[in-house]
């Protein structure tokens, strides 16, 4: 049978559903249409590896890279130890370094060798006991232990300096106990670091990372998929049907919201199980906050896609305006309070800022409602603003 003949079996009497086919025009939301749109989007998500990739694979990869790659906990810092004239006190001092997990002391023969090791980055610093150290210690006290640090990485140098001071103070205490003297140490510092007593940088980096990754994913998913509809011409076919723009937007937001939230769940599970970050706040607060943030990020993505004509441009914009700002200006690693005031203002328009603060609090400090609510309000404000702009910008037009 030829293809044309197949068409001939047209039931001649079958009248079409023309009269009942919803000729009425409604500007509200029609449930059938919305259901159809959401179902369509779901099928597409399931069948399109790229949206699954962005929602699930990207967070896993990024969390692994960041989680393992970004750490500010210096351990086993290699330091050169130069002892011009060995003595019992010096060995005792050095043993303090040997016992500390923070250091890996390397004994060097002379200061020249140690200096060279600093230049070639074999060691990060030098601890130098000059030949008159022992004599001065007994005669006058206050004998200088010279510490030379490589200041190129100032943050690391400062942390190392703190560790060295700690070793020194311990040594002094030991020394005093042994000799039975009371040292002149007027004030001592006793510190308690709340929420993260063991000072694991991962505990705060991982929640921050989740915020950054979710910004990227929320914005990228939506901006790319809408741009894709324009690019493939499906949008043109869609908008000439009686569907309203509201329905199209809700039809996009709902499925990608759930997709993004699944990515979020995955990230939280990884944080707790792989990176052992304590989760002290309530799951409910975490869910509510994440949902709010996800909506804001998706609205941002929608806005990007309205501005960008193609997937290519949308992807580019999404990466530029979400990733770097979220990384630098969200307070994720760099303290916002220490930035110049104009830049502090700038951070207020970075949605990730609020999510970082919210997540770090919920994970490490627990339910601190005033903080939670303030951040939620900011997010709501931003989300509402984005929504308004989208509403104003998106019309059922090609221009």
């Amino acid at each position: 049978m030829s293809r044309t003949e197949k068409g001939a079996k047209f039931p001649a009497g079958a009248r079409s559903p023309r009269s009942t086919s919803g000729r009425h025009v409604s500007r509200g939301i029609n449930r059938t249409r919305l259901k159809g749109l959401i179902r369509k989007e779901m099928y597409q998500i399931i069948r399109d590896p790229s949206s699954i990739g962005i929602a699930f694979v990207l967070p896993v990869i990024l969390l692994l890279i960041f989680g393992y790659g970004v750490s500010l906990d210096a351990k086993h810092v290699p330091v050169a130890v130069v002892i011009d004239k060995p003595s019992r006190e010096v060995s005792d001092f050095i043993s303090g370094f040997r016992q500390s997990a923070y250091f890996r002391p390397v004994i060097m023969n002379n200061i020249k060798e140690a200096e060279h090791a600093v230049m070639t980055r074999e060691v990060d610093g030098i601890i130098w006991f000059r030949s008159n150290f022992g004599r001065q210690m007994f005669l006058e006290g206050n004998a200088p232990v010279e510490v030379i640090l490589n200041g190129v990485d100032a943050n690391k140098a400062r942390i190392t300096q703190g560790y060295i001071t700690g070793v020194w103070i311990k040594w002094l205490e030991r020394y005093a106990l042994e000799k039975g003297v009371r040292l002149r140490m007027p004030a001592t510092v006793k510190h308690r670091i709340w929420f993260n007593a063991s000072v694991r940088s991962r505990n705060y980096l991982v929640p921050g990372l989740i915020a950054i990754i979710m910004t990227l994913i929320g914005a990228m998913l939506t901006s790319m998929v809408i741009a894709r509809e324009w690019e493939r011409g499906t949008m043109e076919a869609l908008i000439v049907t009686p569907v309203s723009m509201k329905e199209i937007i809700i039809g996009k937001v709902v499925p990608y919201f759930f997709l993004g939230m699944s990515g979020m769940v995955l990230s939280v599970l990884m944080a707790v199980w792989i990176f052992h970050v304590p989760l002290r706040g309530s799951i409910l607060a975490l869910t509510a906050g994440s949902a709010l943030f996800m909506l804001t990020a998706i609205f941002m993505g929608l806005l990007i896609s309205t501005a960008a004509g193609s997937q290519f441009v949308a992807g580019q914009i999404a990466i530029v305006i979400t990733f770097l700002p979220a990384f630098i200006l969200s307070g994720f690693v760099f303290d916002i309070g220490s930035m110049p005031v104009p830049i502090q203002w700038l951070t207020h328009i970075v949605p990730a800022r609020y999510f970082v603060s919210m997540l770090q609090t919920i994970f490490l400090a627990g339910n601190i409602w005033p903080i939670f609510i303030t951040n939620c309000l900011w997010l709501m404000g931003m989300g509402a603003f984005f929504m308004m702009v989208i509403k104003k910008k998106s019309r059922k037009r090609l221009e």
Partner: protein, 605 residues
């Protein structure tokens, strides 16, 4: 909508019914800003579409067809003027318009990762068709389009023609009163094209639907009951196609030149006063004159240097369209009597096989794009590779150019396999890629400079060739325009110029005329004819069946196989019947495909 407005609309709609119009376009103007320039897509355009017939919107690419249809569907807002559909204004009342029309954009937005059924469901949902009526409608549409066996297949896996039919089915979901189709047959193979037309006719017949359909294929105009002609955004005329062609009754002739003289004859005729159009059709030349004359006078008056016999033939719609376009250009003083490109003759023996392909195979994974094809091209021939999209012609082409390794078989171009031969071997070949691939940011002259250097031209010779290109293709006035801003016809010229910079003895052309208007296409073929005349071997792919007539010999491909090869006459002669004594290339193609399918079915049992 308040009561009074509703009444008004109803009154207007009544008025329309009386007048028998379903769409009126009044003084529509639309500008687009592209870069620094403003492009006028529609210029004070007025026309109307009658109820219950198929109206064709005919014009070349870039004429403003799509813009007009988008305005009608409420997707664009005109700068001035308005479009009224079934009594509703398509700008202010677009939601109402959109629920009464069916609209199929150029590349119908099928969701390729949804199945046929899921696509149907989506559009049924969007039109809010009650569940009780759905199944009947689905069955109806699937039977009509012949897609019933494929409902669970992903739309992306359908062939081009099937996709187009599914798109049509989706836009017919709510049985619209007016169906707007934007170039529904572009890139579709002739068999599917015929089926699409069947469906459209059926809607008009059974549902009393009105159809507005745009196309750049001039032969399709004759299938419409009425046509609206558009060129550069301007209304050129509206009437039934017969009225247009009738105006040229007695002006059309088929000339049979002496053996081997067809190109010379056509070239000479093109220069002659009083000639509207002269094109090669196989071994013959079709002539359209300014004034009606009889066949004997044609033999006496035109072209004294070349011998031929003339016989009168009925006019075609295309003849009238070409005349209209020419007259327009002439009025504006833009018609240039150009000479085709000059080329130093290429030495060679006419029997020498310049391109030789034996048992060529190309696999992509499990899929055979090319299944063991063989053919050869002789010196100075224009050789065509014909087939629908996806027939394997581009794959074959890319293998010949050395852009793609073959999976099996043997191929030679000028005695070498370009894939393995040294870079110098490629200097023998000129290549014009699909879509006129030029560097969009570079100006005309920068493009020419770049390509001449890339082909290794130097010094004085390079300067001469750039000058030659600017002169022969009338690019001089546009030489500092960025190629992205060139009109399509000029892009085509520039692309050809770039491919000819190094005077290659072999020329590869991949879909060289797609999208350009009929005049530009004619000019292009004049250049190609001149090159072939000088002994250049030309290999060309096309999905325009009519263009096959320019070829000396050709192969017709489908599904990676060669269905037939030979001269256009030989191929057409195979399907000459009493019912159809003069089959067109398209008839031939359809017959070949049907025969092939029948053989395959038999083989399957």
């Amino acid at each position: 909508m308040n009561h009074e407005e509703g009444n008004n609309a109803r009154n207007e709609s009544l008025a329309m019914k009386k007048s028998g119009l379903c769409m009126t376009i009044e003084g529509v103007t639309k500008d687009f800003i592209s870069g620094k320039r403003t492009v006028r897509a529609l210029d004070n355009f007025s026309a109307s579409v009658k109820k219950g017939i198929v109206t064709g919107l005919i014009g070349p690419d870039g004429a403003g067809k799509t813009t007009l249809m988008r305005i009608a569907a409420g997707l664009l807002v005109p700068d001035s003027g308005h479009v009224s559909i079934l009594g509703m204004d398509s700008t202010t009342d677009f939601l109402a318009v959109q629920s009464s029309i069916g609209y199929m954009p150029q590349r119908f937005g099928l969701y390729e990762d949804l199945t046929v059924q899921e696509n149907l469901d989506l559009y049924a949902d969007l039109h809010d068709i009650p569940a009780s009526k759905r199944q009947a409608r689905y069955d109806e549409l699937m039977n009509m389009t012949g897609l019933a066996p494929f409902t669970s297949r992903l739309a992306g896996r359908l062939s081009g023609g099937m996709k187009q039919k599914l798109g049509l089915a989706c836009s017919l979901m709510n049985v619209p009163e007016l169906l707007i189709l934007d170039e529904p047959t572009v890139g579709v193979d002739p068999v599917s094209r015929r089926e699409l037309w069947e469906i459209v006719y059926r809607q008009v017949r059974d549902e009393n639907m009105s159809v507005l359909l745009s196309t750049a294929y001039l032969d399709e105009a004759e299938r419409c009951q009425e046509v609206i002609l558009i060129h550069e955004g301007i209304f050129l005329g509206q009437d039934s196609p017969e009225v247009f062609s009738r105006s040229l009754a007695g002006n059309s002739f088929m000339l049979t030149p002496d053996e081997g003289q067809k190109r010379r004859l056509q070239e000479e005729l093109s220069h002659t006063d009083g000639v509207v159009d002269a094109i090669i059709l196989g071994s013959k030349v079709r002539l359209v004159t300014e004034e009606p004359v009889d066949a004997h006078e044609v033999e006496r008056r035109f072209c004294k240097n070349t011998g031929f016999r003339a016989e009168s033939v009925p006019p075609r719609f295309e003849d009238a369209f070409i005349k209209l376009l020419r007259d327009r250009l002439k009025d504006r003083g833009e018609i240039q009597d150009s000479t085709p490109v000059s080329r130093t003759p290429v030495e060679g023996n006419p029997d020498e096989e310049v391109i030789n392909v034996r048992n060529l195979v190309r696999k992509f994974g499990d899929f055979y794009a090319v299944r063991g094809i063989s053919f050869s091209v002789r010196h100075g021939e224009i050789f065509g590779l014909l087939g629908a999209n996806g027939a394997g012609k581009s794959t074959t082409f890319r293998m010949l150019c050395g852009l793609l390794p073959a999976s099996g078989g043997h191929l030679m171009v000028a005695g070498k396999d370009l894939r393995t031969a040294g870079a110098e071997a490629r200097a023998n070949v000129g290549y014009m890629a699909q879509k006129f691939s030029l560097y969009p940011e570079l100006t005309v002259v920068q493009n020419l400079k770049f390509f001449s250097s890339a082909y290794g031209l130097e010094g004085k010779y390079r300067k001469e060739r750039i000058r030659w290109a600017l002169d022969s293709f009338q690019l001089e006035p546009l030489k500092d325009v960025r190629s992205a801003d060139l009109p399509l016809g000029y892009k085509q010229r520039l692309a050809l110029a770039a491919a000819l910079m190094h005077e290659p003895p072999i020329l590869f052309l991949d879909e060289p005329t797609s999208g350009v208007d009929p005049l530009a296409r004619r000019e292009f073929w004049r250049h190609i004819n001149a090159l072939a005349q000088a002994g250049v071997t030309v290999m060309v792919t096309t999905h325009f069946m009519e263009e096959a007539e320019y070829c000396d010999r050709m192969v017709i491909m489908a599904q990676g196989e060669i269905l037939a090869q030979g001269t256009p006459e030989e191929l057409k002669a195979r399907f000459r019947t009493d019912k159809n004594p003069n089959p067109t290339m398209e008839d031939t193609f359809i017959a070949l495909i049907e025969k092939h399918e029948a053989e395959k079915d038999r083989g399957g049992h």
